[in-house]
């Protein structure tokens, strides 16, 4: 804990050299970038390994890898752009971004444009055989919008007013409702966790926070009780408890995933050598179940390395939130940290059989263009917050 939250005076990395002044490249959080690139690189190799067998008989067995690398390139560019956005400008235009992404979120419902994948009508068909998942962008815009709302302090009071909190909840509720209709349960859970984290760090009264968490739990229970969730959604949420007795599809997935990971042992079968991976026993192992490839082929050592790289990203995000100059910056960074953390826990947790099976990707690692772009944009936003904080710090000297 001490290294995660160093005191200001000893903070050598964060405080730029006063004599030499700052600069965009110098001030960037390179640890964060290196960790994210490392995770992406591992991700590319894992996606390659996972997709090789599927595509062995097709004309280009490397097509997945190529598309993945192109996506990564586009995502990096978007991330750089996001990191260069003017802080005030970003805040001012947040409502526009939010409304735009809400509109985008509705597009899958338009006949002819929407695509249903794995039971979730959450994709938009675009030319060149690609699909876009607007809910990924919705996460970013919800974070920005809630941060903007909750950092607005009319009377310089210490905590957000009830009105701000209700408004922030509404901001989160709109996309949550849409995504719920699209049957994307995983994203709903992530959005709920992100919203709660932002509201908590915004400093709302503890009473409200407890009420919100309690309300969320009751809401889920009520949804199950009154049949608001489809039966298969409940199945997915409960099948992980007793996977061996359940022969439904999601239990099959959970079992195969655990066989793959467990079989990897300490040092794994070696890249391209995992019998479960290469025999296509684990479904969608290039995206949602990509962690099983790491587990089986790279073993405990390799998958721990991957988890540690992701943990470094979380650590840097929290640190940026901690050092943020203003509440807006802190809330943006908090939102991104919470998003990445819960999504990572849910995704890896489901492959390990300790979380229910939901269709969400592993940030930085899974194949999937939209997810990758959204996460790199989020990284860019973290850099923006950091660059702004350092600039303010420098100007105060």
């Amino acid at each position: 804990m001490a290294s995660m939250f160093p005191t200001k005076s000893s903070d050598a990395v964060m405080a730029p050299s006063r004599d030499r002044g700052g600069g965009y490249w110098r001030d960037l959080d390179w640890i964060l970038i290196i960790a994210a690139l490392g995770a992406s690189l591992m991700g590319s190799v894992l996606v390659w390994s996972a997709s090789r067998a599927d595509l062995a008989s097709e004309s280009d067995p490397q097509s997945y890898l190529k598309r993945h690398l192109i996506n990564l390139g586009v995502a990096l560019v978007l991330g750089i752009i996001a990191s260069r956005i003017n802080y005030r400008w970003l805040r001012a235009y947040t409502p526009v971004v939010y409304i735009a992404s809400m509109v985008l979120l509705l597009v899958p419902f338009v006949p002819g444009l929407g695509v249903t994948i794995a039971g979730a009508r959450a994709w938009i068909d675009v030319p060149l055989g690609l699909t876009i998942q607007p809910s990924e962008f919705a996460k970013v815009s919800v974070i920005l919008m809630m941060a903007a709302l909750l950092s607005e302090r009319r009377d310089r009071e210490d905590e957000p007013s009830a009105q701000d909190v209700l408004l922030a909840l509404l901001v989160a509720a709109i996309p949550t409702a849409i995504i719920l209709v699209q049957n994307d349960t995983g994203t709903v859970l992530i959005l709920a966790a992100v919203s709660l984290s932002i509201i908590a760090v915004a400093g709302v009264r503890t009473r409200w926070l407890v009420g919100l968490i309690g309300g969320a739990v009751l809401g889920v229970l009520a949804a199950i009780q009154f049949g608001l969730l489809q039966e298969y959604q409940v199945d997915r949420l409960t099948s992980f408890i007793n996977p061996d007795e359940d022969v439904s599809a999601s239990a099959y997935n959970a079992n195969q995933a655990r066989i793959a990971i467990g079989g990897g042992g300490l040092d794994g079968y070696g890249l391209f050598e995992g019998p479960q991976t290469q025999g296509n026993f684990v479904p969608v192992n290039e995206s949602d179940f990509v962690f099983t490839v790491a587990g089986e082929e790279l073993g405990f050592i390799g998958s721990t390395l991957l988890l540690l790289l992701l943990a470094v990203i979380l650590w840097r995000a929290i640190w940026i939130a901690w050092k943020a100059d203003d509440l807006y910056g802190r809330l943006v960074a908090t939102g991104v940290a919470a998003w990445l953390a819960f999504q990572m826990f849910e995704n890896v947790g489901m492959t390990l059989g300790i979380m229910p099976i939901t269709g969400i990707p592993l940030p930085f690692v899974s194949a999937g263009g939209t997810s990758m772009m959204a996460t790199w944009i989020a990284l860019g936003l973290l850099q923006t917050v950091r660059l702004h904080s350092l600039a303010v710090l420098r100007s105060q000297v």
């Binding site: 804990m1 995660m4 939250f5 067998a53 210490d158 905590e159 984290s197 908590a200 760090v201 915004a202 400093g203 195969q256 655990r258 066989i259 793959a260 990971i261 467990g262 079989g263 990897g264 042992g265 300490l266 019998p275 479960q276 025999g279 296509n280 026993f281 587990g295 089986e296 073993g299 405990f300 998958s303 721990t304 988890l307 992701l310 943990a311 979380l314 929290i318 939130a321 901690w322 943020a324 203003d326 509440l327 802190r330 908090t334 940290a337 919470a338 953390a341 819960f342 990572m344 826990f345 890896v348 947790g349 390990l352 059989g353 300790i354």
Partner: protein, 724 residues
């Protein structure tokens, strides 16, 4: 920013750390702690094995005659899962199948029920293999019938025919040896669990049959062989994507037993003859055993148990009716190795050794009154005979109980009488222990009884075990019995009061009973045979062995099993006692209780050392007939022990059969001895191992020595003519 925000952010950070740690912990558990299990699961997922079962090794007798061999059989199997999907219902198909195979449909249904499910019959009738595995329901089916079933596939869904290698019992000389050879059965759940998760190609599979008793079980690993396994890689759709491994099947090794089929058949016959002799005298003669041991090695040359059963009934699984009959007849367990019996007077050799060790004069004179009185108890001689002052040798010859009572009484007094503790000297029990009683003999069979020695130790132990019950009964006074028979209840109560108070005490009466092999002492006939072997060879107690070598199917010697010494009797007094017994026991046959069965036997050429026994058993009206012996007494080779429960005296019931066994061993006809007439091919157990030809068939003695029908003999001997 507010303190509250800082605190919340800190908590959020801490939450993330714990989330990461949770994932790492779970990962460690799955991959490092339980990884092996999942590896097996992954292999099961991605590979398919095509298994060709290994040919099980033969079991040969000492001359090379096959006691157990293999043959192929046309077997009808039923795939239960497919059968249950039959549109007209499984029962209709089973009914039809029963009709064409001419077996009751009920039997088929019973056979198909997995063991442990509702309504399933106990094993071996129920199916204890995998539910995904076809269940064999009929063996040796007429090819015409099998063909007509195959041709009408739609009428018999899930029914298939295949050729299986199954066990066959050529039975040279009509030998039975069921308890020794054992039988096969499907591998048990326990065995699979013990094996643990493994993917080794020669692991036990659910479909395997393994030895479940006798030599088949004891040497299962050796004779099982290794299956031929081709491991194919498959993908999710079950498509074969390549061959990963290939192992050719390796036939199992052969067991070369020290049994001789010809001798075994004589011993089996003579045991039945002894039982019939008992029955002719009007006695129940309900069970018996006989053992022939090579005294120089401890190898078993023949061992028979009555009642017995046909070993081939296990092939392909028994029916409920057969199984019930087996259980009812008590023929499943071997009386020779598992039956426990009071040894009676055959035990006097042990008392004699103890006496010698304790310094009693072996050449002295001892009083042999007709009875000894002890309080209200009277201890008698057989038929209350009195011989006056006689030598110890004469006491053995005529089996005088009272001489041994006297010796035991002195020993008991010396040890401290009634007040002696549990650790006090108990020379007779000590000698019995040295000769292997009360302990497993170590024979190469999966089960044997240990038996017990009546002793201070046993009595104290037994008291500790039963004290609570005795004391409870002593207080309660048998209220149930009292209602109908108050006198009996009083008797029981008094007995239990005494037992409760000092049932741990080694009483004078206990000591007297123990000296003549009565009371709590119980032995297996095999143990007694090993005792007499040890006396014959001058004090070496061998572990009995049934197998003398393991050979590969192509005739190489894999392992020779040497004689194993279990204990050596040392000490000059003990040695002297054994020499005394060696000098004395031939007299039993010439001038003592063993004389009548050997009347006319050429004892001048083949002196026989023997000791009779007629053990009283509580509850039995008739004594257990024992005849323990070895011969030739001047150069001991064989020990022969026979016993029949409720069979009368040793000399009348068992003695004549033991004589016949010696006649067969030595080639005795009338008073003429000719080793060429011996049932053993060279007149003695073969020193050499049999020859196995390249094709796996053993070379067996020809003509009358083969013991096999001519047709079979020529088949197995064909390679011989070709000069192989």
């Amino acid at each position: 920013m507010s303190q509250r925000s800082n605190l919340r952010l800190f908590v959020l950070g801490a939450l993330m750390v714990s989330l990461v740690l949770t994932l790492l912990g779970r990962l460690f558990y799955l991959q490092v702690l339980t990884g092996e299990e999942y590896k097996v699961a992954a292999v099961n997922n991605t590979v398919r094995e095509v298994v060709e079962p290994a040919v099980r090794g033969l079991i040969l007798d000492q001359a090379g005659r096959p006691l157990v061999s293999n043959r192929t059989s046309l077997v009808i199997t039923v795939d239960k899962l497919e059968l249950e999907r039959a549109p007209e219902g499984a029962d209709a198909v089973i009914e039809r199948l029963g009709g064409i195979l001419d077996i009751p449909a009920e039997g088929i249904a019973d056979r198909l029920k997995p063991c442990g499910t509702e309504g399933a019959k106990p094993p071996p009738v129920c199916w204890n293999g995998s539910p995904y595995q076809p269940v064999p329901i009929a063996q040796d089916v007429d090819p015409q019938i099998a063909l007509s079933i195959m041709e009408q596939g739609q009428r018999y869904p899930g029914v298939d025919a295949r050729l299986d290698a199954i066990r066959e019992y050529p039975a040279p000389f009509d030998v039975n040896a069921a308890h020794l050879l054992g039988y096969l059965g499907p591998v048990t759940e326990t065995q699979l669990e013990e094996q643990g998760p493994t993917t080794a190609f020669d692991r036990l599979r659910r479909t395997d049959v393994v030895g479940r008793s006798g030599l088949e079980a004891y040497y299962d690993e050796e004779i099982r062989g290794k299956p031929g396994v081709t491991t194919l890689a498959v993908d999710t759709a079950g498509r074969v994507t390549g061959t990963l491994e290939e192992f050719a099947p390796e036939p199992g090794d052969y067991l070369v037993s020290s049994l001789d089929a010809h001798l075994q058949s004589v011993v089996e016959e003579q045991l039945v003859a002894a039982v019939q002799r008992a029955q002719r005298q009007g006695y129940p003669g309900d069970s018996g055993a006989a053992v022939v041991v090579d005294v120089k090695t401890g190898r078993i040359l023949a061992m028979a148990s009555y009642p017995t059963y046909d070993p081939s009934i296990w092939v392909g699984g028994v029916t409920q009716k057969q199984f019930d009959k087996l259980m009812e007849s008590g023929s499943l367990a071997s009386n020779a190795t598992q039956g426990l019996f009071a040894p009676g007077s055959t035990y006097k050799v042990i008392s004699t050794i103890a006496a010698g060790k304790e310094g009693f004069n072996l050449n002295g004179s001892y009083d042999c009154p007709s009875r000894v009185k002890l309080g209200t108890q009277v201890f008698r001689n057989y038929e209350s005979a009195a011989y006056g002052d006689i030598s110890l040798a004469r006491a053995l010859e005529v089996s005088c109980n009272t001489v041994f009572y006297g010796i035991a009484d002195k020993m008991w007094e010396r040890a401290g009488g009634d007040d002696a503790g549990r650790e006090a000297a108990d020379p007779i029990a000590e000698a019995a222990r040295q000769l292997g009683l009360g302990e497993a003999t170590g024979i190469d069979l999966p089960v044997e009884s240990v038996g017990r020695i009546a002793s201070r130790d046993f009595k104290a132990e037994n008291w500790e075990l039963k004290r609570d019950t005795w004391c409870k009964n002593a207080v309660e006074g048998y209220p149930e019995t009292r209602k109908t028979d108050p006198e009996l209840a009083d008797y029981f109560t008094a007995l239990d009061q005494e037992n409760c108070a000092d049932g741990f005490r080694w009483r004078e009466g206990d000591a007297l009973n123990a000296s003549i092999g009565q009371g709590d002492t119980a032995v297996t006939p095999l143990q007694m045979a090993m005792v007499y072997s040890a006396i014959a060879n001058g004090g070496t107690l061998y572990e009995p062995r049934m197998v003398k070598a393991i050979m590969s199917a192509d005739g190489e010697v894999v392992k020779e099993i040497p004689p194993i010494v279990a204990n050596e009797i040392t000490g000059s007094r003990a040695k002297q006692s054994i020499r005394f017994l060696q000098r004395t026991l031939p007299g039993v046959t010439t001038d003592g209780s063993g004389r009548s069965p050997f009347a006319g036997f050429p004892l001048n050429q083949i002196p026989v050392a023997s000791k009779t026994g007629s053990a009283q058993v509580t509850g039995d009206k008739v004594s257990t007939s024992w005849f323990a012996s070895y011969a030739p007494a001047d150069d001991p080779q064989y020990a022969v022990v026979m016993m029949v429960t409720q069979g009368g005296t040793g000399s009348k019931t068992s003695g004549p059969s033991v004589r016949k066994i010696y006649e067969a061993l030595f080639g005795v006809k009338g008073s003429d001895v000719d080793p060429r007439r011996s049932v053993l091919v060279d007149g003695k157990p073969s020193r050499d191992l049999p020859v196995i030809r390249d094709d796996g068939t053993p070379v067996i003695p020809l003509g009358k020595d083969s013991g096999l029908p001519e047709a079979r003999e020529t088949i197995t001997a064909r390679g011989d003519e070709g000069g192989g």
